[in-house]
């Protein structure tokens, strides 16, 4: 809570400052939206590439199965033919280990890419949370300042009202004070309205800022969980692919490699689900986000000085009282954690 309850907090607010804040938030949110669009697009690309990589890696399962059948073929004909076919196919036969290692390395690169991207998402989410925090802080300051301005308007109004009934003052003294109080009244009324506009500005932009943050958080959570699971599975497969390559495609190798590829099947299913989620995010979340940011930018047009000049004393009093009431309601909501 502010240490000086009757003093304004933060920078002095003018129309120019308020306009600058509006522009800054609007620009920032548009940039953030572009960044989120980029993240969504990158996520989709990475997810698709991983899906392709893991799918291709797992297709070697069939080749392994064929090798296992050949190696286990104990028929007389197979035994007689094997030396000749082996010689003929010395160069023609490809190494399953070689093919698996190449594919595994391609998937490994994609996983590293996804890991780095997960960090980028986290950074963006943290920056967007910082923006939400800043809007909350500015809202708190604006509400406080609104209350201070409202109290000052009422004080100036009361002083003006009391002036006419004061018989002790000379007409010149009354004129001088009336000018002073009148000036204070108009100045504080403008301040009240500016702080009110500042509060509105923060309130309008908070939902869009929250949505942006939540979208990126969701992307990060999904990507981090996916990367963790996929890395574990792919690494386990990699250990077997490399570790068993020593035996050069022998049948005992094949059976264990098949187990690894079964594990890859699970990773592939998880990837497919992840790709679907990311496509859903692009299709549904992005248009909603764009609409929210646009709506926040359009809301809360600046109060013009012409509007302020139209305000008569009664309206000013009513406005100040309303501002105090709203500030009190805000405090209660704040205490209840409902802001």
């Amino acid at each position: 809570m502010p240490e000086r309850p009757n003093q304004y907090l933060g920078e002095a607010l003018t129309h120019a400052v308020l306009q600058r804040r509006r522009e800054a938030v609007r620009t920032h949110q548009e940039e953030a939206l572009t960044e989120v669009q980029g993240h969504l697009s990158t996520q989709r690309v990475i997810a698709n590439e991983l899906d392709d990589g893991i799918r291709t890696l797992s297709t070697h399962r069939e080749e392994l199965h064929r090798l296992e059948s050949e190696a286990n073929d104990g028929s007389l004909l197979a035994a007689l033919v094997r030396p000749f076919t082996a010689r003929r196919t010395a160069l023609a036969r490809s190494s399953v280990t070689e093919a698996l290692v190449v594919r595994y390395e391609a998937v490994s690169v994609r996983l590293r890419e996804a890991t780095a991207f997960s960090d980028e998402l986290k950074l963006t989410a943290l920056e967007l949370q910082q923006e939400v925090d800043r809007l909350h802080r500015e809202l708190g300051e604006s509400l406080h300042n609104q209350r201070v301005a409202a109290q000052r308007v009422l004080q100036a109004q009361e002083a003006l009202d009391a002036l006419d009934a004061n018989a002790e003052l000379s007409p010149e003294q009354k004129d001088r004070r009336r000018d002073r109080f009148g000036f204070d009244l108009r100045t504080e009324t403008v301040a009240l309205d500016l702080h009110k506009a500042a509060s509105e500005h923060c309130r309008n932009h908070l939902p869009a800022a929250r949505s942006l943050r939540d979208t990126v958080l969701q992307l990060h959570e999904e990507m981090a969980a996916y990367v963790l699971g996929a890395t574990h599975t792919v690494n386990a497969a990699g250990r077997r692919i490399q570790g068993l390559g020593m035996l050069a495609d022998a049948p005992t190798v094949v059976a264990e490699l098949q187990e690894s590829l079964d594990a890859l099947q699970e990773a592939m299913e998880a990837t497919a689900a992840y790709v679907e989620t990311s496509q859903d995010l692009v299709a549904k979340v992005l248009p909603e986000l764009a609409a929210r940011v646009a709506a926040a930018g359009e809301a809360g047009a600046a109060v013009t000085e012409a509007d302020l000049r139209m305000l008569n004393r009664e309206k000013r009093r009513a406005m100040a009282e309303r501002a105090l009431r709203e500030a009190a309601e805000e405090e209660i909501s704040d205490l209840l954690g409902d802001l």
């Binding site: 010689r87 010395a90 160069l91 023609a92 036969r93 490809s94 190494s95 280990t97 070689e98 290692v101 190449v102 595994y104 390395e105 490994s108 690169v109 996983l111 590293r112 890419e113 780095a116 960090d119 986290k122 950074l123 943290l126 920056e127 910082q130 690494n235 990699g238 250990r239 490399q242 570790g243 068993l244 390559g245 020593m246 050069a248 495609d249």
Partner: protein
């Protein structure tokens, strides 16, 4: 198996120092690639980006998965994406310390990897040494399944272009990818068998065939091979081993206390065979290695780790 994070930097630096001490020649994988790769694994460069820090339990060498993560990062590093500035990293660190540390580690690692050459998981290349007749050298490098680093080097005489090898007029060799598959399938079979397979597949005549391993790397506390004295694990001990069949090798020399001479393997006619194991050892383990070698009736080369090498 995994090592504690605190032991990783000392581990990779010790292995790198041991490689320096061994000074492997071109019958082993390139020293620069091995050291660049180890530097990338060092948490002082890559933080925890390449975790988990997996070690092959039986050989004490970095596991394939750990090495592969560095290779995958190298692919990303060479894309030359804009790197974060100091200010951006500081800003991220202010928001989340661990995230800022990872961004810093990724930037440092990528800077290293853009300049580095890493050990390949599988690689075959060849060069002509003479054109008439064609003498060619094929070099196959691999991260072996047990974690050791292996190079197979074949020198062969060709009657011209064959199924697997085309000889360009200026002497450049174009290798059929199938030849690399052949090496991958047969790289670890008995050397005599590999000799026969290569001659059959390429139609050439082998002059010399060698297979050199770097590793295992033994250190206190690791899984011990019960066939060797406990004392060999009392310090750091890196092995390099080589087996050579060649027309330029006389007789059959066996200087490897860790491998038995074995039954008489068929040596191609006109060839000799040579097998040797060398060691890089810290002071605590050096006398034990010497004693163990002498017990096997041989004197092995043991170079000290971390001290000035004696001239051998």
């Amino acid at each position: 198996m995994s090592l504690d994070a605190a032991r990783i930097s000392p581990y990779v630096r010790a292995l790198s120092g041991a490689l320096d001490a061994l000074a492997p020649n071109d019958e082993y994988v390139p020293l620069a690639e091995a050291k660049d790769h180890l530097h990338a694994l060092d948490p002082a460069v890559s933080g925890d980006l390449l975790a988990p820090y997996e070690i092959e339990a039986s050989t004490g060498m970095p596991a394939y998965g750990w090495l592969e993560r560095a290779r995958a990062e190298a692919v990303l590093a060479r894309r030359n994406a804009p790197e974060p500035s100091d200010a951006e990293i500081e800003r991220a660190r202010g928001l989340d310390g661990a995230l800022g540390a990872r961004m810093q580690a990724r930037r440092d690692l990528h800077r290293h990897l853009r300049e580095a050459r890493l050990l390949p998981s599988l690689r075959l290349h060849g060069a002509a040494r003479r054109l008439e007749p064609v003498d060619a050298a094929l070099v196959y490098d691999r991260l072996a399944p047990d974690g050791r680093w292996v190079r197979v080097r074949a020198e062969l005489r060709l009657a011209g272009t064959t199924d697997g090898i085309r000889v360009r007029p200026q002497g450049r060799l174009v290798l059929d990818p199938a030849l690399q598959h052949l090496f991958t399938r047969h790289a670890t079979v008995a050397l005599g068998g590999l000799w026969e397979t290569l001659e059959r597949a390429t139609g050439g005549t082998l002059q010399r065939l060698s297979r050199g391993f770097l590793g295992p790397f033994w250190y206190p506390g690791m899984e011990r091979d019960p066939a060797v004295p406990q004392a060999l694990y009392s310090g750091l001990l890196l092995h390099s081993s080589i087996e050579v069949f060649g027309t330029d090798v006389d007789g059959d020399r066996h200087l490897d206390p860790y491998q038995s001479a074995g039954a008489a393997e068929t040596v191609p006619e006109g060839c000799g065979r040579y097998r040797e194991r060398r060691f890089a050892a810290t002071a605590a383990v050096e006398p034990h290695v010497q004693a163990w070698s002498q017990d096997h009736g041989m004197k092995c080369v043991v170079v000290p780790i971390g001290r000035r090498r004696r001239r051998l």
